[in-house]
């Protein structure tokens, strides 16, 4: 079965991104497919590589990056939501004259169309958020 997963809360602040991660892992362990994980609202803050959580705590962003690398997942950060919150890749930095970018490995920035598309293509869409 094909899943689309929406993450709409930021890391650490709300448990939603933890639940989304555990759910995603379980989806893959059950042999199902994840078409895309779409980060919207404050969920875009999952996609910054600049976090340094305490050593005895989980590293939420790295955990996503590793899961994506292992299973070739498509992690999409919504561009409109990202612009408001300061999540930037090389292209966005150039376009808006920013002197730095902060996107984490395995994440890409794209439009809301990617959310609509997964809504059309997935058998199940599930939202984790605040």
């Amino acid at each position: 079965m094909k899943f689309g997963i929406i993450v709409s809360a930021g890391p650490y602040t709300h448990q939603a991104s933890d639940t989304a991660y555990q759910f995603s892992k379980a989806v893959l362990e059950r042999g199902h497919e994840i078409l895309r994980i779409f980060f919207y609202h404050d969920g875009v803050n999952n996609g910054t590589r600049l976090t340094t959580p305490p050593q005895d705590d989980r590293h939420i962003t790295n955990r996503w990056s590793e899961l994506a690398a292992k299973h070739e997942l498509d992690l999409v950060v919504c561009v409109a939501a990202a612009q408001r919150r300061g999540i930037v890749d090389v292209g966005e930095a150039k376009r808006h004259g920013k002197d730095a970018n902060n996107i984490a490995p395995g994440f890409r920035i794209s439009g809301l169309g990617q959310l609509i598309e997964v809504g059309i293509q997935a058998d199940r869409v599930i939202t984790f958020g605040d």
């Binding site: 929406i6 709409s8 919207y40 609202h41 409109a80 939501a81 408001r84 439009g111 809301l112 169309g113 959310l115 609509i116 598309e117 809504g119 059309i120 997935a122 869409v125 939202t127 958020g129």
Partner: protein, 114 residues
């Protein structure tokens, strides 16, 4: 179907939820939009953010029809709790009861929530 349950301005969900509806319309999806709980306040007439310098996005609701988004539903019970009537709303909507909303939700392919 997009279900809106939050008031405008206090949080961004109303605005970013509206952006999803517009994008869905651009993809020629047949979208139903439901306003429920505090979400009904999104459609309140007379919003004026000049004194708070937040962007007033309420005129966009009036533009939804021109984007082909015509199925706007508002739950009667949420309106009554808040002392609102259809005359208070910025756009024409279909008023439905909670029981009707329950049935409507059962007919959807995908439900997005804010």
């Amino acid at each position: 179907m997009c279900i809106n349950r939050r008031a405008p301005y206090g949080t961004i969900y109303a605005l970013e939820g509206l952006e999803v509806v517009l994008m869905g319309a651009a993809f020629e999806q047949d979208i139903s939009v439901v306003y429920l709980d505090d979400g009904v306040y999104q459609l309140k007439k007379g919003q004026d953010t000049t004194d708070s310098s937040i962007k007033n996005f309420s005129p966009t609701y009036r533009a939804l029809a021109s984007y082909g988004v015509e199925k706007l539903y508002v739950e009667t019970e949420s309106m009554e709790d808040r002392g609102l009537s259809e005359h208070d709303l910025i756009v024409p909507v279909k008023m439905i009861s909670g029981a009707e909303l329950t049935e409507l939700m059962e007919q959807q392919d995908v439900i997005l929530n804010y």
